[in-house]
Structures are given as C-alpha cells and as structure tokens.
C-alpha cells in the first residue's frame, strides 16, 4: 500500500505537468496513442523476458520519433497518424497476446492498473523517470510555454518549436510508462487531461492552472487508491472516475 501511494503521488504530479502542455496545444490524443503503444511494449517485454517498463519506454520513444518524422517529412496529418499508431500498436499487441496465452492475467494489470502489483523495482524506475520529467519541465518551462502559446511567434524569436515539441512528446512517453502499473494503459490519458480541464476553469494564469491541476490530480489518485483498496475495485478505473466526478462538480459550480 505504501508503494502504491508513493507511485500514485508521483504520477499524480507528473501527469498534469505534462498534460497541460498537450491540452493547450490541442494534442491531448497523443497521450492515448502513447498509452496503447506502451501496452504493445509491455507485451514485447513479457515475450522477450526483458523488464516490461523498459520495453514500454523503448517502443513509446521509437513511436514518438516515428510519428514526428511522418508528420514533418511525409506531411501526413497528425490526427490520422495518431489513429494509425493507436490502432496499429493495439492490433499487433493483441495478435502477440493470442499467440502466447500464458500471460493474459499479468497484462490485465497493465491495461487497467493494479496497486498490488507495484514492486520495489517499479518504484525505482518510476522515481527516476519522474525526476527526469520534472527536471526537464522546470528547466525548459519558458520555452514549452512559449511554443504552446504560439509556435510562429516562438520560431520568429529564435526558439525551435520542433525540438521542444519532440521533447514534450518524450516527456509524455515517460509519463505514460511511469503510470502503467497504477492507472493502466487504457486510462492514463484521462489523468493527463481531466485534471487539466478542471483546472482551466479556475486557474488565474498558466502557472496557477498547472498547480491546481496537480492538486486535482493528487486528490483523484490518493482518493482513488484508498477507495479501490478498501472496496476491492480496479485502481485505475476508480482514480479516473474520481477525477471525472471532480470535473463534473467543477463544471456545475462554474456554471452558477
């Protein structure tokens, strides 16, 4: 349970930190796409005997560069590319699973999250990746903010929007991998997006919106882990349901 709280709290902090840049750039679907790709990576990990979190990280980083290359060099539309990678990776993963029926139960925890499967090794991986994500966001906050506000303006000022755009996708890939065990591949994008959407209605600026999003996210994750532990529910589903409930309440309060 302590491991779950440590991992959960770390995820609750980094998911909206990355998510806010994706949401304002209207690129939120990338989180969902990366989640499906990391699931494919997990399957590869189970099949090869390598640590699943590492193979998940490898496949998602490869996908980030693949998507970016196809988008910029081949000039293919972003939304179609995301759809292609999302459905393609899931299709390959399901074929691989059907070939090796032995690990279906373990994979289920990566799809929907399970607090009981978080190991000591997972905690180390999660902490290392989280320190990397938070460190990069603090170091390049002003550049990420600028390209999210307006790419043309940023480029005209001498900032490289493409480089920082790829950096943001790498951070998103790391965040998805970190969150696999607690929230699950199918639900992580919700944790990156819903607390941010809730916070946008109340934040008085970008920084304050980010802090609020982290607060809503922490509330959802810690509350969700408690509820799922005592009622024997899926941790990922409970966390996202709580985040959704907060969002709905916030909409209701905001409309008054």
């Amino acid at each position: 349970m302590i491991r779950a709280f440590i991992a959960g709290s770390v995820i609750a902090i980094i998911a909206p930190l990355v998510g806010i840049f994706l949401v304002v750039r209207r690129y939120a679907l990338i989180a969902d796409t990366l989640a499906h790709i990391t699931f494919f990576g997990v399957v590869v990990g189970f099949m090869s005997g390598l640590p699943p979190l590492l193979t998940a990280l490898g496949t998602s980083l490869a996908a980030v560069f693949g998507i970016e290359r196809l988008r910029t060099v081949q000039k293919l539309p972003s939304d179609s590319l995301l759809s292609l990678f999302l459905s393609g990776s899931l299709a390959i993963a399901t074929v691989l699973i059907s070939m090796h029926r032995g690990f279906n139960l373990n994979l289920f925890s990566f799809l929907f999250g399970s607090i009981t499967t978080v190991s000591h090794g997972d905690i180390i991986t999660i902490l290392v990746l989280a320190v990397f994500v938070i460190g990069v966001i603090i170091a390049f906050y002003k550049e990420l903010f600028f390209i999210s506000f307006n790419e043309d303006l940023a480029q005209a000022s001498g900032i490289r929007p493409r480089s920082f755009g790829i950096l943001l996708l790498v951070l998103a890939a790391c965040t998805v991998v970190v969150s696999l065990k607690i929230v699950g591949a199918l639900l992580i994008s919700a944790l990156m997006v819903i607390p941010v959407l809730t916070a946008i209605g109340y934040g008085r600026g970008f920084l304050s919106t980010t802090i609020l999003a982290v607060f809503f996210s922490l509330t959802s994750v810690i509350g969700g882990i408690f509820i799922s532990y005592f009622w024997g529910l899926s941790s990922g589903g409970t966390i996202v349901c709580l985040a959704l409930a907060i969002f709905v309440i916030s909409i209701f309060i905001n409309s008054k």
Partner: protein
C-alpha cells in the same frame, strides 16, 4: 539567401529579386524593396497575394527560393512581431497578461536563463508604454479584442525591438478599437522611432497610417509614398496585372 545588412547603413530590410513558390505555384515573384530605419511601411494586397509569406521570409520562418532578403545586423532578436489571427487562436489558453508579455524575453534569456533585472525592466517599460498595467493579472481569454492587441504589442515591445511587424493586426477587432489601436501604433512609431511594417488588405487604413505603401499581388504592383498614393490608380494596376499575370495563382500557399 538571407544576409545581414551593416548596421551603419540606413537600411533595415532590403529585398532583391525575391521569389518564393510553393508546390509549383508562384507566391512571390521578383520582389524588390528597401525599408529605411524609422520608416512606417504599409504592405497591401488582396487576400492570398503573398503578404504573409513575405513577412515570414523577413522573419526567417521561410527561405526565399531565389533572390535575397537582407536584414540589419543583429536584428533577428530585435523584431517585434504580431502574427495574423493570433487573437483568435488563444481561446481557453489559461495564461495571464504578464505571462504573455514575459515571453518577449524568452529567446533573449536563452536556454536555462533566469529572469534578470534587465528582463524585468524591459517588461515594465513595455507594459507602461502600452498602458496595460491594469490588465496584468487578468487572463488573456477574458480580454476584448482591442485589449488583446495591446497585450501582443506589449509582448513585442518587451523584446526591445527596432522593427515592429504587424500582420493584419486588426482582424477580429471592432471599428472603435481599430482606430485606438492604430493611434497607439502611430504614437509608438513617433515616440520610440520604431520602424513599422504593417500588413493589411485595408488600403484606406494603410494609406492613412503609413509613410509609404507597397502593393503586392504575387509581384510588386506599386511602391510609393502614402501622400502621393492614389487608390484608383492602384486598383487599375491590380486589375491589369491580374489579366496579364504569368505565374499561376497561389493555392494552398502560406499566404
């Protein structure tokens, strides 16, 4: 080719035989002009005539396919730019006015650069000159079109520019706010001695505000002082050029 012009020269921007095409369509063909220090230049032309493409070439966002554009030495970081339709792209962007104005210092601070005393002074000056001190803590998406335009000008001024480039800055702004906005730009031009490049499809506004007027419609149609500019003559030239024009009209271009 994009060269740098010697800063002792009185020219800020100069284009020689500048051409740009996109997907086989000619967007700009054989454009020549020179913007002097402290000049207020208005660029007019119909929709899709290549005005925004020209601005993007000046800013270094696009490279000319032939010919050259020369920008005064060390000017890259000293161009204050207000892009087209920026006001319409910020709905639900949860930033305060001060956060936006401070982006004017992002490139100057450099990677990992802290917000210095010089940065704070430049932002403070930009805010004062623009008269937006009372708006600093408000969210950008709560402001009116006119107020937003002042914020974007303040952001541009925070770069301590020598040139201010405004690409269709009055899009989405009501008539009264437009007048106030152009008065404001005119005061900046005179008070700070800024070189201003204003892009618009509204000929009357450009002729009223600018010192000189450049008309383009893929090629240079006319380039003359505003006080000797005759609208009807320009429209006539535009019509005759349209009939004779050799390059194919631009479609799916950056303009």
């Amino acid at each position: 080719m994009r060269h740098l012009v010697d800063s002792e020269n009185n020219t800020h921007i100069s284009a020689k035989n500048l051409s740009f095409y996109y997907n086989g369509h000619s967007v700009l063909h054989d454009i020549n002009f020179r913007v002097k220090r402290g000049e207020y230049l208005g660029i007019v032309g119909p929709n899709g005539s290549g005005k925004t493409t020209l601005i993007k070439i000046i800013l270094g966002l696009l490279s000319p396919k032939s010919g050259s554009i020369e920008v005064m030495d060390d000017l890259k970081s000293r161009i204050g730019y207000v892009p087209q339709y920026i006001s319409e792209t910020i709905s639900q962007f949860p930033a305060t006015v001060i956060e936006i104005v401070q982006t004017g210092r992002t490139a100057i601070r450099g990677i990992l650069g802290r917000f210095s005393v010089d940065d704070a002074r430049a932002v403070e000056n930009a805010v004062q000159v623009s008269g937006i001190k009372h708006l600093l803590k408000r969210r950008l998406d709560e402001l009116s079109g006119g107020e937003r335009q002042k914020v974007f000008i303040a952001r541009a001024l925070a770069t301590e520019p020598l040139i201010l480039i405004l690409d269709e800055p009055d899009a989405g702004v009501d008539f009264i706010s437009q007048e106030a906005f152009y008065d404001f730009v005119s005061r900046l031009h005179k008070k700070l001695g800024l070189t201003v490049v204003l892009v618009s499809h509204d000929i009357d506004t450009v002729v009223r505000e600018a010192d000189s007027v450049m008309c383009i419609n893929h090629t240079l149609v006319c380039y003359e002082r505003a006080d000797s500019f005759v609208k009807e003559k320009y429209l006539e030239k535009l019509r005759s050029k349209k009939e004779r024009r050799v390059p194919r009209a631009e479609k799916n271009s950056h303009a």
